[in-house]
Amino acid sequence: MGAPEGNRARDFSLGVEEEYQIVDPQTFALTQRAEPVLSNAEISAGGIHPELNLSQVEISTAVCNTLAEVRAELTRSRKELSTAAEAAGVQIAAAGTHPFSHWSDQTVTPTTRYLAMERDYAQLVREHIVFGFHVHVGIGDAEVALQTMERVAVWLPFLIALAANSPYWLGRDTGFASYRTDMCDRWPTGGLPESFRSRDDYERLVKSLIATGSIKDEAEIYWDVRPSARWDTLEFRVTDVCSSIDEAVMVTGLIRASAQICHEQAFSDAPPDLPRPELARAAKWRAARFGINDTLIDLHETAAGPAAEVIENHLARLRPYLEANDDWDEVADLVRATLRRGTGADRQRRTFRRTGRLEGVVEAIVTETLSE
């Protein structure tokens, strides 16, 4: 859960974290084998970490400056981790939820931190068997990072919809494209970040949350986007982990460009035109529910439109930034491929229709996780 390696990141450098499922190759159920996987892992760069449950592990990339570096890091991390998993007799899978394993069969990782979380949050933690994708975007100035944060809310539904990859829960189709989004919003400090006048204002809030016993430390703030505890990045944690590396690269490119446009707006000092919080939440919820298969609420326009159109409009707004990053061709192609082929959630549902077995869905996720 820490910031990416390295000290002060350059503005708009990238660090990515992915949470993976540990799956039994025979039953395709989640299995509590994080410890042997972690001890087998020989990771050449970046890092590998335990997570809340023993059926998950998290990797972090080194600091990257280009999407090509992100792609190479994710490819290497997934491969090295998979080798370690194989040696432990298990497999890794990248998707926002496991299609059928029950929360009551999972075990919290027995470290001081995670056991304290289980004690404090109780049922909320027990049910929290979800797998996310976190992108750290380097923003050196902490004041500007906060002003950027409040402006990025309008981009989140678009990101959630494209990355949606958690349609199944406890053996059933939830109807959601990203059911994980519903689950993450349950944290008392989950959901969209609010606005802050200044860094002092933010620090006062953190202090008062700690003083009131609401959180133990700043790391228990789980907003969709948050200033990293190490202060040189803005951390996006709103999307499901993607099954394919292509999608992970796409989401990373979109997040960076969204951060850049909001960063520029923050510097312009123009008062932000923020959406009503009720609407921002509704837009997020709709994206989680329907992914790209219905209407999405475009918070820039304060209107609902067909998902493909809303996504194209977002892409057009980001285009100058994607072009400046040399990411336009790759990211635009990947977005359009997703619109054509469907999201991870759509592919999981297709696999289920084809195989009739949720085990078949897990098998397909494992395969995609390791495809380059």
């Binding site: 049922q123 059933r172 959601f176 949350l209 016993g213 009720e278």
Partner: protein
Amino acid sequence: MQQSFTVGVEEEYQIIDPGTRSLKQRAEAILSRAESSPVNVEAELQLSQVEIGTPVCDDLAQVRAELVRSRRAVGAAAAEEGMLIGAAGSHPLADPADQAITPTERYLGMAEDYGQLAREQIVFGYHVHIGMDDREAAVQTMNRVRGWLSPMLALGGSSPFWMGRDTGYSSYRTDVWGRWPMAGSPEVFGSCSEYEEVIDLLVTTESIAEETRIYWDVRPSSRFDTLEYRVTDVCMSVDEAVMMAGLARALTRRCYEQAIRDEPVPVVRPELLRAAKWRAARYGLNATLVDVHGQRSRPAHEVIDDWLGFLRPSLEDNGDWAETSALVHQTTERGTGAARQRDAFGRSRRLEDVVDLIVAETGAA
């Protein structure tokens, strides 16, 4: 304009099989048996629940009489079907996968729109309507009550068990209910017209199909000239339900009076408001609560006492002080519904006995 501060209460009940003590999908039969009774009973989202609504009451004595009458009438209709009724925020044994949505256009529409979220709503709430003829005043009052809802939640927790397990929460229903995209604390609104603009915006952007799908902890009712509270679990005992009605009525009056004196709306960070609610749902009266206005953590009984002190002038004006304050003290001494459920489980280690306790308290009057 003088407000009436009348009270109307809605309670959602569980339909329970006396043999297995599990939830039973028998709402339709019970509703048709209750048709001939003079009590207002309606269907709810799940076939294992029914909802009653009292008439508009002028005082707490009437609220009490109506709740006793409603619980008896629904209990009698259920008995004719060989069923029991229970009032608690969650059913200790129920699994969402075993439930069924009420097959009306409205509820099937909700199940279709909300998917898993609707299917998991095996929860039972308590709604209090306080009469306010002036909608502008209702919005200005709502702005001022938001910070006082966590003590109410702490007193009213009755949903500690979920899917056969102790959740650790006093009101786990609060977590489940909070999943609706339009649940949670309302924002502050500058005026009634701003409130209405936001509702229109949510409808035109297809965020909600209709205004009734706003489930904030408190809001001006879409159907009546009332301020409606829906923050608490349904109470096991009639005493507790009467207490909640008295508290909601006094809170409304107190904050209304602040509003007409144009006292400023307290500035509270939304994160803190949410944390306060979460702690009240998690711990009930058994730990510290967040004092939202003082921005600090304090023992639950102090927060409750302060709240009662704040409400006292209005409780007295309403003629409710003696009864409501006595009932609050009774709750802090006996423990909340959640605490009593845990005591019952601690004695026998059987969740069936918890269900029996819920049924017994629901019917005792």
